[in-house]
């Protein structure tokens, strides 16, 4: 039983983990993309459709990443080049994604899907209990952890990461020093879009291998909350994703065993947790100031 619960927690946590780490990179560069949900659902439908048509899960995943990036490129063009309002554009992107994915996915409703193969890591996967939980997952689960590690390393140990943080902290100064704010931000936004697309592919190719309209069901919003929850620190995203994943699984199991807790209350737990964390981190203002991208959501127009 416990093993089964743990397995479902991993599958619940993986999509929000991947979407959140992508959004974290975008926000560290100073761009608030509220369109995560829209990019994710587009990734889900395109990933499902391509896998279904070609019979290849890998191609499906690649197509989903490309779809997420295409959506984020549209967002980047609007907010970075045309300097549109980031909040409004992000909301529009979500609405567009949900609507458009429904249109594309109409033909695929009820069609049985592909499921990504699980990777059995030799020897390790044979260990009882630990093996099935940690070493018999599909590639995207491992990829999620790898992404977090790479993002953490790049952000804090490389020049690229330093430039990214600098752009998010003070775009005027970064520009004055000769860095291309728009370019850095566009790349970060594209990375965020790719991650959201990958998270979407996980939904339609691993989590529930089928297409259902609006199947991401608010996970994009949870990912956004998760970025704040993690106070923009990559490693904390893992903690948060598993916490939020566990809460959503708990929700299902609680209903199954007919626990007397309203399911609405349980589903709201991630958001309540985010509010609590926001209050806690704002108590330590110095830490907030150091980690919160000061230019988050602010438009930048170079004076050249």
């Amino acid at each position: 039983m416990f093993e089964a619960v743990l397995l479902t927690v991993i599958t619940a946590a993986t999509p929000i983990l991947i979407a959140a780490i992508g959004e974290l990179v975008a926000e560290r560069s100073g761009v608030l993309n509220l369109g995560v949900e829209g990019m994710m659902i587009m990734g889900a439908v395109i990933g499902f459709a391509v896998a279904n048509q070609t019979g290849s899960g890998t191609l499906g995943v690649i197509a989903a990443v490309a779809a997420g990036m295409a959506m984020s490129a549209l967002f980047g063009f609007l907010v970075l080049i045309l300097v549109a309002n980031q909040v409004a554009t992000g909301l529009a992107l979500t609405i567009l994604g949900i609507g458009f994915s429904g249109l594309i996915g109409e033909a695929f409703i009820g069609v049985p899907g592909l499921i990504l193969p699980e990777l059995y890591i030799p020897v390790l996967s044979e260990i009882p209990f630990i093996g099935p939980v940690f070493f018999q997952q599909d590639a995207i689960v491992y990829l999620g952890f790898a992404l977090v590690a790479v993002v953490a390393y790049v952000l804090f140990k490389t020049r690229l990461g330093l430039v990214l943080r600098a752009v998010g902290n003070n775009h005027g100064s970064a520009h004055a020093l000769g860095y291309s704010v728009i370019k850095v931000r566009f790349m970060a936004v594209l990375f965020g879009g790719g991650c959201a697309g990958l998270a979407g592919a996980y939904m339609s190719l691993a989590y529930t291998p089928q297409w259902v309209e609006n199947m991401t069901a608010g996970r994009g919003w949870i990912a956004l909350a998760l970025v704040v929850f993690s106070s923009w620190l990559p490693l904390r995203v893992i903690v948060g994703a598993y916490l939020f994943g566990a809460v959503s699984v708990l929700n299902l199991h609680a209903q199954a065993v007919e626990l007397d807790i309203p399911s609405q209350l349980l589903s709201s737990l991630p958001y309540l947790a985010t509010i609590v964390v926001l209050v806690l981190i704002s108590a330590n203002r110095r830490l907030t100031l150091v980690n919160t991208p000061a230019c988050l959501g602010k438009p930048f127009v170079p004076d050249r």
Partner: protein, 534 residues
């Protein structure tokens, strides 16, 4: 061999060279016919400028004369529309700041270009093309900063550091690029006199080593003191070149403005001191954020008919003190009294109705709403003080428009069309407007924070004279300023704020710059603490 000898030879050389074109063997940068246009405005019109090795070259001019535009073209952050830049004899195209740094041109910015959330070493690494290993860079920073007498701790986060140290970071960052030309945009505006002296020593040492400095400043005293050559811009054109050591601040100012600058007269009339209008009694407040300053037992009596100035380096509690007096930050009622009435918790409107007026430091965003017209900005501060601007809840645009014209004329606010948005005014013009808006009311108590920050000589003289005239007509005026020249020009009494402590206000005639400098550097604290204990 003493430093003085070297300096005199240098300036003599420059003196003879002014007549002909100064470019020669030692020429580092030779700009010819640089032109930059923004829309209809010609910001730089065929500017010629020659900078030689080892020279501290002053670039002077009023606000909007085109100084910043010119140096931004040298630093690659603006592209010239015409003309050419020769660097060490070769024609160069400086496409971006990185290219400028590669040539050996460094810049220390007026508004700091530091990243608050990053450490000192990270900030410096961002400006270097190949910073290499961070630990090695940190060691280099420590070595260079100590060598030039600008010690830095590489691991500190910038947000925790005071402005003086932040400027050090900028300078050390610039030095690590091993530049041959350093451009400095108003470097001393945030320093104590002692810190400024240290900077001058560093600059002189750099010049001796052959590095050239292009120095922008509004403080003509220091230009005369340290610069070897000066180029003066007016309306985007070079109007004069001179040897500042042979000029006086007044003659430099008149070259900038193109006319004699009216000198401000304070001492001619003895102040006729009346009743205390504004009283601060043991005013204390906790710091609202980790980067704010706490106020510690501040006491001051501001009397009718006098100008009291509060000197101090930026970030020592001036903003907090202003917020408490204006009512933006509530404090205990007894701590602030207007004409004897406790008002620490009263609103800004309540205080305005009792003849008080306030001009905050930040003119755009705090003093005026950028996107609103000037007349609308007038309504915002004067709606409650009887100009018939508001009747039965409706705004009288006619009345506001009349006021706007009156202020515009009285304070010479220049605008391209009638009643523009606040953001479209240049800094100096907007400052004249926000000060003028309150002075026009003839307030009984006026509190001004940095009345002439970033304002050119002509406009500054106008504002200062208006402040003195207001006091002589029987009002109480409190000026918070970082500009010592200004303070000694207009104040009857001077107090110094340091880390939220205020020294006792002493008659200006008893104060010297050295004493104010010492108080700024922390003696005000001791004095303030002693006053606390009593």
């Amino acid at each position: 061999m003493g430093d003085d000898v070297e300096e005199t030879t240098l300036s003599e050389e420059n003196g003879t060279m002014i007549q002909q074109r100064r470019s020669g063997q030692d020429t580092l940068l030779d700009a010819r016919g640089l032109t930059k246009r923004f829309g209809d405005i010609l910001a730089n019109d065929k500017v010629d400028l020659v900078i030689n090795k080892g020279e501290i070259h002053a670039l002077l001019g009023e606000n909007g004369a085109g100084k910043s535009t010119l140096v931004k073209m040298f630093y690659g952050s603006l592209e010239p529309d015409g003309g050419e830049i020769n660097w060490q004899g070769n024609n160069v195209d400086i496409g971006n700041p990185a290219a400028a740094r590669e040539l050996g041109i460094g810049m220390v910015f007026q508004h700091f270009s530091l990243f608050e959330a990053l450490t000192v070493v990270e900030n410096i690494a961002l400006a270097l093309p190949n910073p290499g290993n961070m630990t090695a860079l940190a060691e280099r920073i420590q070595a260079v900063s100590r060598e030039y007498g600008l010690p830095l701790n590489p691991g500190d986060i910038v947000a925790d550091l005071p402005v003086g140290i932040r400027q050090r970071i900028e300078i050390v960052r610039c030095l690590l690029q091993e530049p041959q030309l350093i451009i400095m945009d108003e470097p001393t505006s945030v320093l104590t006199p002692q810190e400024a002296d240290q900077l001058f020593l560093t600059l002189q040492r750099l010049a001796e080593e052959g590095c050239a400095v292009l120095y922008i400043s509004h403080r003509l005293e220091e230009v005369k003191r340290i610069c070897h050559h000066a180029t003066i811009l007016r309306h985007g054109q070079v109007v004069r070149e001179c040897d500042p050591t042979k000029e006086t601040p007044a003659s430099l100012a008149s070259m900038m403005v193109g006319a004699d600058v009216a000198s401000v007269s304070a001492a001619e009339q003895k102040p006729d001191i009346g009743e205390t209008r504004l009283g601060l009694h043991n005013l204390s407040a906790r710091a609202a954020t980790p980067f704010a300053t706490a106020l510690n037992g501040i006491s001051l009596d501001l009397r009718a008919g006098e100008v009291v100035a509060i000197a101090g380096v930026a970030g020592n509690g001036q903003g907090e003190l202003f917020d408490a007096i204006s009512g933006e930050m509530p404090v205990a009622p007894e701590m602030i009294k207007l004409d004897g009435t406790p008002c620490g918790t009263k609103s800004i409107t309540w205080r305005r109705k009792r003849e008080a007026a306030f001009v905050p430091e930040e003119r755009l965003g705090h003093g005026a709403v950028p996107g609103l017209k000037l007349s609308q900005n007038i309504v915002l501060t004067r709606h409650a003080t009887g100009d018939r601007l508001v009747g039965a809840g409706f705004v009288s645009t006619t009345q506001a428009g009349l006021l706007e014209k009156r202020i515009k004329q009285a304070f010479d606010v220049r605008m391209s069309h009638d009643d523009p948005e606040a953001r479209s005014l240049s800094g100096g013009n907007l400052q004249k407007f926000v000060v003028g808006r309150e002075l026009d009311r003839n307030p009984g108590v006026l509190i001004v924070n940095q009345p002439t920050w970033g304002v050119d000589a002509g406009a500054a003289a106008l504002i200062r004279q208006a402040l003195i005239d207001l006091a002589r007509s029987g009002s109480a005026v409190l000026v918070i300023s970082q500009d010592l020249d200004e303070i000694f020009e207009i104040a009857d009494r001077i107090a110094v704020i340091s880390r939220g402590y205020l020294s006792a206000a002493e008659p200006a005639s008893d104060m010297t710059r050295e004493r104010v400098g010492l108080l700024m550097a922390g003696e005000a604290e001791n004095q303030g603490e002693m006053a606390d204990a009593h």
